[in-house]
Amino acid sequence: MLEITGITKRFGAREAVSAVSLSACAGEFVVLLGPSGCGKTTLMRMIAGLETPDEGTIRLCGEDITRRDPRERDIAMVFQNYALYPHMTIAQNIGYPLRVRKRPAAEIEAEVKKVAARLGLSGLLANLPRQLSGGERQRAALARAIIRRPKAFLMDEPLSNLDARLRVEMRAELKHLQHELKIVTIYVTHDQAEAMTLAHRIAVMRDGKIQQFDTPANVYQRPLNTFVAQFVGSPSMNLIQRDGVILGVRPEDVQLSASAQAGASPGRIYVTEEMGNETIVVVSDGSSQITARCPAGARFEFDSTVWYRFKPDKVHRFDSSGARIPD
């Protein structure tokens, strides 16, 4: 479906994207995840045709689109700041892709109504974008993207301007919508929770390179290096230097007890954070801090002594360069 081969983009001397290869199957939801400046947005803009790659090819449905104009790619994009046309009503905004394609007015109107109803915008069609709330603008931008049934969707941090509650709502909405439409989607985010919940596959990026491209479960359970291990999961994985290797343990795989146990090491409580449904406990063992995820109601006093141990089959091992050591 979408096939990216050896894509490189330089800005001056800096390589924003270095020889990235990536593919997405028909109807797949792929999330590009990484910190800011990792090249994920540049990669997406090259797929859109807003940047031209220095090397490599992009193929969509078998056609080479690497150097085509954005308008000839049949790709729709949703921007972080929505990028609605401020001087047009919501109806005109949503219908714009069809109007550019010179579809008959009656057909455009019918399509706009259909899409607006699907996204709960029916009552807002006569409004201007500035009269809408953030969430409504986001829906309008989505409506404009889906109305023409493109070959692919690109979404550049579409939820990051929404407040926390709305973001979670829209996330679910988006996932269902993509499932309905079955159109290949590339989604850029720095939020690992969004990536985990939305993606069929996640491409974790750093410094212009893909660190790991796999299903959310595999990225979480078998991170290929310490960067992926720490970037995915919250609170992030504990990394402990021991005998020349780095041990990685997820907070839920750290067991705490108030009394001495076989195979457990002592530490002191640094802080406990009640989350309501669970408690995050940070233990200090002198040289490093270890975060543990405990059941709700776990109570520890500041500076009291606890014993911690790792579930033995849940310890990840990385070499000193950070790469995973095969089990």
Binding site: A48, G49, L50, D69, P70, R71, R73, I75, A76, M77, F79, Q80, N81, A83, L84, Y85, P86, H87, Y96, P97, V100, R101, L128, P129, R130, R144
Partner: protein, 287 residues
């Protein structure tokens, strides 16, 4: 009634609060007094024009100077020249300057050439216009464009271009580039996105810029005086001044022409006022 100390203080405070209003009234009066005087002179009989004490109101009104200036005299022709010149030079400055501004605002230039080009364009506004007049005179003479509206139109266009480029560049930069990118992904070419999405968004800026160009071209005196010496290409400001002759000064006709000369600018500014206010305060473009 005897005032207490507090009473005096209160009175002084009230008086002080009036100061800004008084200042505003004085400013309006000072600004409008010459205009009013111009208007009355154009309507007074010649005997009343320099009566002493001056007749501010209650003089015998007459339209003879207007008749004199426009029916008998050549002011109608000057007026037409000025209209043509202002319109053509403004349109030309916009036609060249708007794409230039867009290019400077949007495209990536190697080694920040956009800044350098921008600075060079601006630099032409820094020298006093009069220093360019001799070279311009020689160039126009060589091109046989002295005494022609075409020649003046070219000069005015060049004169307004830097302003257009700088104003419009600011307005284009205010439009988030994602809006344009969205249009291109929606199926527009770059030109289509510029025409149908970006230009409507910078309309207030366009209006403000156009009004400014029109006013400059309309009022311009120095270049018109030196680069045109025949009736054929004479503009209103030069025409009005030419009524100061060796033998007499035709105050009435000059004033009448002056009043008429103000009208187009007033009308245009009023029509564009909605845009002017928004246009001159940057940041009005975002929706």
């Amino acid at each position: 009634m005897k005032r207490t100390r507090a009473g005096w203080y209160e009175a002084a405070r009230k008086a002080a609060a009036l100061v800004p209003y008084l200042a505003a009234v004085a400013a309006v009066f000072i600004a409008l007094a010459p205009v009013y005087w111009l208007l009355t002179i154009s309507l007074k009989r010649e005997v009343d024009q320099f009566a002493y004490p001056p007749q501010w109101i209650g003089f015998t009104a007459t339209l003879e100077h207007y008749r004199d200036a426009f029916a008998g005299g050549s002011f109608a022709a000057y007026f037409e020249n000025s209209v043509l010149l202002a319109a053509i030079s403004t349109l030309a400055a916009l036609a060249i300057g708007v794409p230039a501004a867009y290019g400077l605002a949007r495209f990536e230039w190697p080694r920040q050439w956009d800044h350098r080009i921008g600075d060079w364009i601006l630099s032409t506004r820094m020298l006093p216009p009069i220093v360019t007049i001799v070279p311009l005179f020689l160039m126009l003479r060589q091109a046989r464009l002295l005494n022609s509206l075409t020649g003046l139109a070219i000069v005015y266009t060049g004169f307004n271009l830097p302003f257009v480029v700088w104003m419009m560049r600011g307005f284009f930069e205010e439009v988030p580039k994602e809006i344009e990118e969205a249009a291109m992904l929606d199926g527009e070419s770059r030109a289509g996105a510029l025409l149908r999405i970006v230009l409507p968004l910078v309309r207030p800026g366009l209006a403000a810029t156009a009004v400014f160009c029109l006013v400059v071209a309309w009022n311009e005196f120095l270049f018109a005086l030196i680069l045109t010496q025949t009736e054929a290409a004479m503009t209103l400001p030069v025409g009005i001044a030419s009524r100061v002759t060796q033998y007499e000064i035709k105050w009435g006709a000059m004033s009448a022409a002056g009043v008429v000369a103000m009208i187009p600018v007033l009308v245009f500014a009023a029509a564009a006022q909605k845009y002017l206010v928004r246009g001159l305060s940057l940041g009005a473009v975002k929706g």
